[in-house]
Assembly symmetry: C2
Homo-oligomer: 245 residues x 2
Amino acid sequence: MAAPHARICKGCWQQLRLPVPLRGPASVPFRVFGIRPSRMNPNICTICELMFTRIRGGRTISVDVSVLFADLRGYTTLSQLLPFDAVSSLLDVFYDECAEAIWEHDGLLNKTLGDAVMAIFNFPIEKPDHAEQALRAAREIQRRCGVRFKSLLADHPELSRSELGVGIGIDCGSVTFGEFGRSHRDLTAIGTVVNTAARAQAATAAGQILVTQSIRDRIGAGWISGEGRAYDLKGFENPVTLYPA
Amino acid sequence: MAAPHARICKGCWQQLRLPVPLRGPASVPFRVFGIRPSRMNPNICTICELMFTRIRGGRTISVDVSVLFADLRGYTTLSQLLPFDAVSSLLDVFYDECAEAIWEHDGLLNKTLGDAVMAIFNFPIEKPDHAEQALRAAREIQRRCGVRFKSLLADHPELSRSELGVGIGIDCGSVTFGEFGRSHRDLTAIGTVVNTAARAQAATAAGQILVTQSIRDRIGAGWISGEGRAYDLKGFENPVTLYPA
């Protein structure tokens, strides 16, 4: 069951000690000015999302976060085999289950592009144990999508031999968070951590989660018992050790 | 030089015959209600972007469009070699030059994710010659980024041997445009055309544009004089013919 939503913006409260009402009668005057729950996380507001530069007094800041990439394996193939409505509802299911799992762990669903999702943990909602939160969210995505895809495949026996599952990569460390581009302003994070998480995701099989050494160091080996393996990731000169989690 | 921006929303006008002021004194009352130029295209408004379902009376529609994917080659490698500010300004340059080129041709800069950009031509601003507009935008992106990257590389002689360039893929045909996901609503297009454009982009070398047979058929071989070649694209059972353009 989804957690009840916050009544004031968690981001504005933690970052600025500003109580911005998100729900109930107090939120009405705010809504007139376009301040409402963000699409990226229903517990933060559009001030966090759209007025970053104005409020932080600069375009970017350096923050310690965990970054998660999830990708729907088999999507390109399936979208050629399935009737149109089924592809559309497959994507609905994937986005929704990812969103719920990410929000349960106070993450920001920063980006979706086709069959890929990018989430950030520890900003603007602070979570000192963000690496653990990101891994919990990843396992929740796998669990939720596993259930939903099973029933989808049962409705389409012609897909029995197709691959359908989620691949997830996670890394943590310092990134630059802020607005990039001047004519098309875009709120996101950049840095090697983001690239590593994306490439780790690309290395997964359907149903798998791969995390970096930094994630394992923070969470502890008890949580991540799999053996590490060196992977050659595109754009990285040296092999990167990843752990199934 | 950038074209002057429209005074009323081109999307609302073409789709609904509704004159929504974007600039000047008439736009002030609209801005109070959060109706302002969209980040996806400064000549359309946030009604086009945020209230799609309410206005169209349904979550998705089927439209004939061209889809363009552009990707910054060498970004992962460069972001490990360059000082932080340089990576940030590299991304600023890439997003801004893509945005200007796409908007000049009335496209929608629908998505950015890391070093990738996705644009849609012919919706919500109608362009019967959208395939040609998309190709013109692609060539403009290459021209603009070529100039900017040359000066960036001149400032960083240590990068002389690095790859830095844009790869672009374009396809056209029918897609489903609308809102996907229910808890995290997301306005985008889905369909085989989107997947083909993304995979065509992945097949390009730095500085290259690859287009599909559908694009070539619409624009005519005069514009696209290169020889077609069959490519094995991920997720596609049969090879796909792509033309350098």
